[in-house]
Symmetry: C2
Subunit: 216 residues, 2 copies
C-alpha cells in the first residue's frame, strides 16, 4: 500500500488518498464536457469537489504538468489524461461472487457498464442457485471460478457474500488471478501485497455525517 | 459544506476529509481495545490506517490536545473522545426508503445495529409492497413519511430507490426533517446547506483500484 509520500516518481509513491480522489475529478470533468465547457480553473474544480484549489493543483502535480499558469485546464485533455492514468480508458471484465439479495442488486445496477466495468460472470457458494440466470448471467459454482476467470480475462471481482465467507472467497479469487476486489461485507479482508481491495461500508459513511447533525 | 480550512475553531471549519477519516480511527481503536492494548503511538495508528503519523497528529489537532508528547495516546480516552466528537456515543434512528433488492439487503445487513444505527422504519414508492414485512419492519407508503419521521425521531435516512426517483425522495426526506442521507443511487442529489449527504458509489471504488492493476 502506498504511504503518503511526497515523491512524484513511482506509481506506488502517489498517496492513495490522491488516487481515490481522481475518479471524482473524472466524473466532474465528464459533466463539464457534456455541458460544452472547454476550460476549467482549479478554483472551479475545487468548488465542485469541495477541496481547495491548492489541493487540486497538488493532486495533479503528482502526474506532471497540466494546464498553463493562469489559463486553467483543458477539460478534454485533463479528462483523457486522468482516464489514462487511472487505467479506465479501456474496459475491464468483472466477476460478481455472491448472488443473494445484494448480489442481485449489483448485477442489475446500471452504473457499471457505461463506465467500462463489464459484469461478465456471477458465482455463488450455494449450489441450489447455481444454473439460475440473474441479470443475464448464468450463476456458476465456485468450482468454475478458476477456469472462467482465466477464460474471460477477469481482473476485478465484486464480493457480496456473508461476512463469515468473505475472507475465504477473497483468498480463492486472489489464487485465481483476480487483482482488485470490491468487498461489500463489513470486514476488511487481508490480501497479499499487490492485490487491491476496497470495502463498501455504509456504517463508516453514516458515522462521517453524524458529526454534522449532532447537537446543532 | 466545510472548506479545507486550517482553522481549529468552529465545527464547520474542520476539513470534511478529516471528519471522514475519524470513523476509521474509531474502528481501529475499538479493535485495539478489544485486543487489550491501552496505549498507541501515532506511528502505530498510521500504519494501521495507511496514513503518515504526521497526518494523524494533524487530524487530531483540530479537536484539541490528545496524548502526551512521546507517550502515545490512551486508546480508551481517544476512542471515547472521538465517539463524542462524531456524535456516535448515543444511538440514531434511521429510515430506509426503497425496499427493492438493495433495500432488502440493507434492511438485513447486521452491521448497523452494533454501531448504534437503528433501522426503525422502511418506506417504498410502490404501493403493491406497502404493508409487507421486511427485516422485521412493515413497509410504509410515502404518505406516512412525515408522521413516522417525526414520531420515531428519525434524523438519518438511507435511500435505495431507482436513480430517477432519488432527487425527489431526497427532497421529501429533507422536507420532513431528515438531516443526513446515505444515497445508493449513482448520482449526487442536491441538498440545501446544513443537510449532509453521502453517496455509495461502487464505480468510484472500482476506478480507484484500476490505477494499481493497470499495466503492471
Amino acid at each position: 500500500m502506498a504511504p503518503n509520500s511526497e515523491s512524484r516518481q513511482g506509481r506506488s509513491e502517489v498517496p492513495e488518498v490522491v488516487i481515490s480522489r481522481l475518479p471524482q475529478y473524472v466524473r466532474i470533468l465528464n459533466r463539464l464536457l457534456e455541458d460544452g465547457i472547454q476550460v476549467v480553473s482549479s478554483q472551479q474544480l475545487g468548488e465542485k469537489l469541495q477541496v481547495t484549489p491548492a489541493q487540486i493543483r497538488k493532486d495533479l502535480s503528482y502526474f506532471g504538468r497540466f494546464g498553463k499558469q493562469g489559463r486553467g485546464y483543458s477539460v478534454h485533455d485533463l479528462l483523457e489524461r486522468l482516464r489514462q492514468i487511472l487505467g479506465i480508458n479501456s474496459p475491464w471484465n468483472v466477476a460478481v461472487v455472491g448472488v443473494g439479495r445484494l448480489g442481485r442488486a449489483i448485477l442489475s445496477y446500471p452504473g457499471f457498464n457505461p463506465d467500462g466495468f463489464h459484469l461478465v460472470a456471477a458465482f455463488d457458494l450455494n449450489n441450489s442457485i447455481v444454473g439460475d440466470t440473474v441479470g443475464g448471467l448464468v450463476v456458476r459454482g465456485m468450482d468454475e471460478l478458476d477456469r472462467v476467470i482465466d477464460q474471460e480475462e477477469i481482473s476485478i471481482a465484486i464480493v457480496a457474500v456473508p461476512v463469515d465467507f468473505t475472507q475465504n472467497v477473497v483468498d480463492q479469487l486472489v489464487a485465481c488471478g483476480v487483482r482488485a476486489i470490491l468487498n461489500y461485507a463489513p470486514i476488511t479482508p487481508q490480501v497479499r501485497e499487490g492485490i487491491r481491495i476496497r470495502n463498501i461500508d455504509p456504517v463508516l459513511s453514516l458515522q462521517s455525517m453524524t458529526y454534522y447533525i449532532n447537537d446543532d
